[in-house]
C-alpha cells in the first residue's frame, strides 16, 4: 500500500513536469512465441484429457475383454498418463494464461464427439494420439531446450499409446 501511494505521488509530480502519463511507458510487452506455443500445447493436452475422460465414461459399461485387460482399463491407464503430461506442461507455464496473445485453435471440436461402438472409440483415440504426436514434433523448434525434451518425450508416449490402443481394440 505504501509503495502504491508513493508511486501515485511520483506520477502526479511527473505529469506536472510535462510527461505524457502512462503512455510514456509504451505498449505492454507481448507474450513470446515460446509461451504461445506452450499454451497451445497445454490446450491440446487438455482436450486429449477431456476426450479420454469421455471415453472412460462411455466404455465403462461396454468394454471388450482382452488378454491385456479390458479396453476400458487400457483407456483409463492412458488417460492417467495424459493427466501427467498436462501437469508437467502446466508446471512449465510461468505467465498466467490470460496474457497470451493468441488463443489456441484446437484441431478438434471442444466437446469430444465419440462413436457409440467401443472398437470405433479405440480407433478414434488412436487417431487423436497420432495427431498429437505429429503436432508436438512440429512445435519443438519454437520452445526452449528443456521444454523441447519434455515435448519430445510426450510425443513418444503418445505414439506408443497407439500400440496399446490397437492391442486393446483388437480383442
Amino acid at each position: 500500500m505504501l509503495a502504491a501511494a508513493a508511486a501515485g505521488s511520483l506520477g502526479l509530480t511527473g505529469c506536472l513536469a510535462g510527461c505524457k502519463g502512462i503512455k510514456a511507458l509504451g505498449p505492454v510487452p507481448g507474450v513470446s512465441a515460446e509461451v504461445v506455443t506452450l499454451e497451445h500445447t497445454i490446450s491440446a493436452e487438455e482436450q486429449l484429457v477431456a476426450i479420454y475422460q469421455a471415453a472412460v465414461s462411455q466404455l465403462g459399461d461396454t468394454s471388450i475383454t482382452s488378454g491385456n485387460g479390458s479396453d476400458a482399463q487400457v483407456v483409463a491407464a492412458i488417460h492417467a498418463e495424459h493427466v501427467e503430461h498436462l501437469r508437467q506442461l502446466r508446471a512449465r507455464l510461468i505467465l498466467p494464461p490470460r496474457y497470451a496473445k493468441a488463443k489456441p485453435t484446437p484441431s478438434h471440436a471442444a466437446t469430444p464427439q465419440l462413436p457409440s461402438d467401443a472398437k470405433a472409440v479405440i480407433a478414434t483415440l488412436a487417431g487423436y494420439e497420432r495427431s498429437a504426436a505429429q503436432r508436438l514434433t512440429g512445435d519443438l523448434s519454437a520452445v526452449p531446450a528443456a521444454l523441447a525434451q519434455l515435448m519430445a518425450s510426450i510425443s513418444a508416449s503418445e505414439a506408443a499409446h497407439v500400440v496399446y490402443l490397437r492391442r486393446a481394440g483388437a480383442a
Partner: protein
C-alpha cells in the same frame, strides 16, 4: 558448450544408443524364432541404418564418431524368447533416452529427427511388451 559442440555431443549420445541396440539385437535374435526373429531382424536393420546415418552426420561436423564397444553389459540375462523380447524392449527404451539430448539442440531439423526417432523407438518398445509410460526417455522425477 557451443552450439556445434552441443550438437556433436548429442549426436554421439544417439550413436552410442544405436550401437548398443545393434549389439543387443544380435543377442536377442539368437533366442528368437519365426515372426519374432523376423521382427527383431527388421528392427536391427533400422538401428544399423540410424547408426550409419549418425556417423555421417558427426563426420560432416568435423568430429570423429565414437566407435562401438566390443561388448556391452546387457540389462538382463537372456536365455529364453521371453527374455529376448524384454531385452528388445529395454534396448528400444534406451534408444528413446539416447536421443533426448538431440531433442534439445539448436537445429530445428535435428530436434524433429530426435522426436520422430524417439516416437518410433517407443512404438517398438511397446510392441516388444514394454509397459506404457508417461515420459519415456526422461528421468524418474517425471
Amino acid at each position: 558448450m557451443t552450439g556445434k559442440k552441443t550438437t556433436v555431443a548429442a549426436l554421439q549420445a544417439a550413436l552410442a544408443a544405436e550401437q548398443a541396440a545393434s549389439y543387443g539385437y544380435g543377442v536377442a535374435g539368437a533366442h528368437l524364432t519365426g515372426s519374432a526373429f523376423r521382427a527383431a531382424s527388421a528392427d536391427n536393420v533400422l538401428h544399423e541404418r540410424a547408426r550409419d546415418n549418425l556417423v555421417k552426420m558427426i563426420t560432416a561436423l568435423g568430429a570423429n564418431p565414437h566407435p562401438a564397444a566390443v561388448a556391452y553389459r546387457l540389462p538382463i540375462s537372456v536365455s529364453t524368447a521371453g527374455d529376448a523380447a524384454n531385452l528388445a524392449a529395454d534396448l528400444e527404451l534406451g534408444v528413446v533416452s539416447g536421443y533426448l539430448s538431440l531433442a534439445a539442440v539448436p537445429d530445428p531439423a535435428l530436434r524433429r529427427l530426435a522426436a520422430k526417432t524417439m516416437q518410433a523407438a517407443a512404438v517398438r518398445a511397446a510392441r516388444w511388451g514394454a509397459p506404457s509410460r508417461a515420459f519415456p526417455g526422461l528421468a524418474a522425477q517425471h
